[in-house]
């Protein structure tokens, strides 16, 4: 009887220790994974990917209003943004600057 009680108490202690260890580990996992995520989002981590598209030295300095086409008023609008409409102009439907 006494042996059984000892075994039960020992098992309970082991379970308690396991729960405490797992809980503290889970908490530190959360901190670690959040830290890893934030580090992976840092400008340094993103540089190799961003460098493929951005020119060097242009980081965090996006141009203001680059979408405004500075072409003169009498320019041929069909050539704006490189979208040639030569084919379409001869078709039934089409649009080009006047």
């Amino acid at each position: 009887m006494r042996l059984l009680a000892t075994v039960v108490i020992a098992a309970a202690v082991v379970v308690l220790i396991l729960v405490i260890v797992l809980r503290s580990r889970g908490a530190s996992d959360g901190v670690d994974s959040f830290r890893r995520q934030i580090d992976a989002l840092s400008p340094e981590a993103r540089r190799p990917v961003i460098d493929q598209m951005y020119g060097k030295g242009e980081h965090n300095e996006p141009r203001i209003e680059p979408h405004i086409d500075p072409r003169p008023a009498d320019a041929d609008n069909s050539d704006a943004r490189g979208e040639s409409t030569d084919d379409d102009a001869s078709d039934q439907d089409g649009a080009h600057g006047a």
């Binding site: 934030i38 992976a40 961003i50 598209m53 943004r81 439907d93 089409g94 600057g97």
Partner: protein, 344 residues
Amino acid sequence: MMTPAIKMVHMARDLAIDLGTANTLVYMKGRGIVLNEPSVIALNRQTGEVLATGREAWQMIGRTPGYIVAVRPLRGGAITDFEITERMIRLLLQRVGVSRFTRPKVVICVPSAITEVERRAVTDAARRAGAADANLIEQPMAAAIGADLPIDEPVGNMVIDIGGGTSETAVISLGGIVALEAVRVGSFDIDAAIQNYIRREHGIAVGERTAEEIKMAIGSAHPMPQESQAEVRGRDLMTGLPKTVVLTPEEVRYAIDDVVSSIVSSVIRCLSKAPPELSQDFLVRGMYLVGGGGLLRGLAERIERETEVPVRMSNVPLEAVVLGAGHVIEHYDALKGMFMGARR
């Protein structure tokens, strides 16, 4: 010389996909953007056989004989035809080296307002198309990463992503979305508004590609210093004969005003959802415009005028989303907590 085994490993690189209503972009881990094509597929109506995808299929829109149909299988950022989308994804993945033997992990950018059913449709389509594992990430989050915004810092970053079928505005801080507003309105709705206006006011029918060309040539959301008119050719609805009309920029602005107002309203709603501590950051840092729809002339000025917050354009408006998703695939283990569903 590359041995077959090495080639297989090379081809199995993980992918990030921006599955947009207008264009599909694919980023390959370690290699960058390897594919940028319109999200269009051309099919033989009788046999169901795929005749073309991407740019080739796009050129067929509105110009096909009766037995060929060129379609966009996504509308409003959602899959409208699951089977065709799956075939399109499979063909696009084949073009970047994915086969049944090389099954990569795939991260797909989707609109944040996507429903659970649509979410499953996208992941299922990717898995059936050859992906070993498919995870989703919200477009505004990917756009903020790709636009090089400091989202790792505790500051308010606001990104406005205007795509072909959806417009999404998000406030992001410390790697998470704080406030979000999305509307199923995008640049295709602007094209449709131009088409409807010309039909209603000038009595001629024009195709969707012509409407897009008009938008790019003279379309604007705000009066611009240098403007010109456009000659538009279409089919007279009364006589059926070809006809030319002249369209002014004012007319186009009037035609698209409802759509533009809807986008601006969603930006204002998102601003109003942002916590005050982050709101003050926008006045200094501004909001960042990405997506093909953001290229509409005068849109930044219009948003700026109505919100009184500076609006800046990303350096890579068309590629920002796929670059962001590409960064996630490069740091898959560290950033897998950012996938849709992972935070719940």
